[in-house]
């Protein structure tokens, strides 16, 4: 069941957000080094010293390692959640709201590794750290990331959707990334290039899958009250939700009309003060292009199977991207397909920057509200609404 209960609404805020930027190559730095850089920048951005942080939340490196690296003297709450990134946001916000800590440092370090790119093995340090199983897994499965390919084929079957519909997600992202100095891929992408790209798992090609990168984002989460004493405008967490259904295995879900995204939409809509008509910027998660098509439909911009047509209707020729009603962009930072595979941290960071007026050439004039829908269909659908204080 979903409910409108949300006592945390607007009580917790992002005081700041930083990024190192992302690179599509094996850098000569460790994952911890990227996380440390982003975290130090976030603390400096918010005028915080080592004694001012009492909560830690991140996956890689784990909190104990990050604490030791930065020499933070006293931590009263920490968590190492799995990705995607709303796990981190909701854990840190709830911990601050409950009083387990007051100022939480939250991070996500993206790192090229064998599970997301075989090219990572050219780095001997990464290859040495990998514990390959003695016997390779069977290919006779649609579990894990392969599941999105399977449902992409079902989506095409049910709605007559075309590869061009998927391509619009990739092109929108790439055009937006050209205005984002942090993005890994910024050269323009044409539909012809998209259609001719190397097929990885039919029907999805190279440009339907997020780009493996090195780099990190970091955030300061605290009470709205405390954030108001910090240098930047606070961005309030209006609602944060997760969604999952009983049949959540990749090959067992009830179908495209009932999976985790539908629970997220019902729950986030009930808990939030605004929905799509009031959203100044929208972040449909795009770890795979099919996920973004489904979010556009499921949050209610258009009906099932209509996302391609919807994007064509609101395609802005000048920017070569979606501009809903002439102004609302989708994934203005370039998303996971072009900025880099951040598991949603890039989407959250960009939303905060848009609402703080720090988005540079990508700035949506006067943006005050952001709707974010990270994660996919099965066991990781999530949602977040943000409001500038």
């Amino acid at each position: 069941m979903t409910s409108d209960r949300n006592p945390m609404k607007n009580a917790i805020a992002f005081a700041g957000a930083t990024t190192t930027g992302f690179e599509r190559r094996n850098t000569t730095r460790s994952q911890a080094s990227w996380a440390a850089e982003a975290c130090i920048d976030a603390m400096r951005q918010c005028d915080l010293g080592p004694k001012d942080v009492d909560g830690l939340c991140g996956s890689w490196p784990p909190a104990n390692e990050l604490q030791a690296i930065l020499g933070l003297p006293e931590i009263t709450w920490f968590e190492n959640p799995p990705v995607p990134f709303i796990n981190h946001v909701s854990a840190a916000a709830a911990a601050v709201f409950a009083g387990l800590c007051e100022v939480a440092l939250v991070w996500h370090a993206a790192y090229r590794q064998p599970w997301n790119t075989a090219g990572s093995l050219k780095d001997p340090f990464r290859a040495a750290a990998e514990n390959f199983p003695a016997v390779a897994p069977s290919p006779d499965t649609v579990m894990h990331a392969v599941g999105y390919t399977a449902w992409a084929s079902r989506y095409m079957h049910e709605f007559g959707a075309t590869k061009e519909d998927f391509g619009l997600i990739a092109i929108n992202d790439r055009s937006n990334a050209a205005r984002n100095p942090a993005a890994a891929l910024t050269h323009p992408l044409t539909m012809q290039e998209y259609l001719e790209a190397r097929m990885i798992r039919w029907p999805l090609c190279l440009f339907d899958m997020d780009v493996a990168v090195d780099g990190a984002d970091a955030f300061i989460v605290t009470t709205a009250e405390r954030a108001r004493d910090m240098p930047l405008p606070p961005v309030l967490i209006n609602a944060a939700v997760h969604g999952m259904v009983a049949n959540n295995e990749e090959d067992q879900i009830d179908g495209l009309a009932h999976h985790g995204q539908h629970i997220v939409v019902d729950s986030l809509k009930a808990k939030s003060d605004f929905w799509i008509d009031g959203a100044d910027v929208f972040f449909p998660y795009d770890g795979f292009s099919i996920i973004a098509l489904a979010w556009i439909e499921n949050v209610g911009y258009c009906g099932a199977g209509e996302a391609g047509e919807f994007m064509r209707q609101y395609w802005d020729a000048e920017s070569n991207s979606v501009r809903l009603n002439g102004k609302v962009p989708f994934n203005p930072h370039g998303g996971s397909l072009s900025e880099g595979a951040t598991q949603g941290s890039g989407h959250v960071r960009e939303a905060i920057h848009q609402l703080q007026g720090l988005a540079g050439d990508r700035q949506v004039p006067g943006a005050r509200t952001a709707l974010l829908t990270p994660g996919g269909f099965f066991f990781n659908a999530q949602g977040l609404t943000l409001i500038r204080d």
């Binding site: 199983p133 016997v135 390779a136 290919p139 649609v142 392969v146 084929s153 079957h157 039919w202 067992q252």
Partner: protein, 145 residues
């Protein structure tokens, strides 16, 4: 005689075999597709779980299915994990089939290439890979009425 646990784990090293799905993999050695069915309410479920998701009974019975059904999901792998006899230069097809036993009960396996498409009727067969039987679907033969 039943396969010893150690031997079962070794023969299915490319799968994640555990206490809850061991019976399913033992069935494969006899070329039987065993799917869990509840002894109390009769509901089928897959992958194998320790209780029935419908009524919470622990009277779970791995039961043989006909292996007939309809293609629900279809992909073709242009790259993938190394596997004996699998050459991705010809894209390797994998299907999720909705089994006839129960609406929404799905099983995923490879499929004999041909004009496979979502919606087609298929039936189960078995091939041998690295000394272990592997389930494979193929287009259902025409049924004469």
């Amino acid at each position: 005689m039943a396969e010893a646990d150690e031997e079962l784990l070794e023969r299915f090293a490319s799968h994640s075999v555990d206490r809850d799905n061991a019976a399913h993999f033992r069935g494969r050695l006899n070329r039987q597709l065993l799917i869990n069915r509840c002894g109390d309410c009769g509901r089928w479920h897959h992958p194998p779980k320790p209780v029935c998701p419908g009524c919470w009974s622990t009277a779970i019975e791995p039961s043989e299915v006909d292996g007939t059904g309809e293609v629900h999901l279809l992909i073709r792998l242009h790259q993938g994990p190394p596997a004996p006899g699998v050459d991705y230069s010809t894209p390797y097809p994998v299907v999720t089939v909705e089994l006839d036993e129960q609406q929404g009960l799905c099983f995923t396996a490879t499929v004999e290439e041909g004009d496979i498409a979502i919606g087609q009727r298929v039936e189960l067969d078995w091939i041998e890979r690295a000394g272990v039987p592997v389930p494979i679907f193929r287009l259902a033969r025409e049924v004469s009425l």
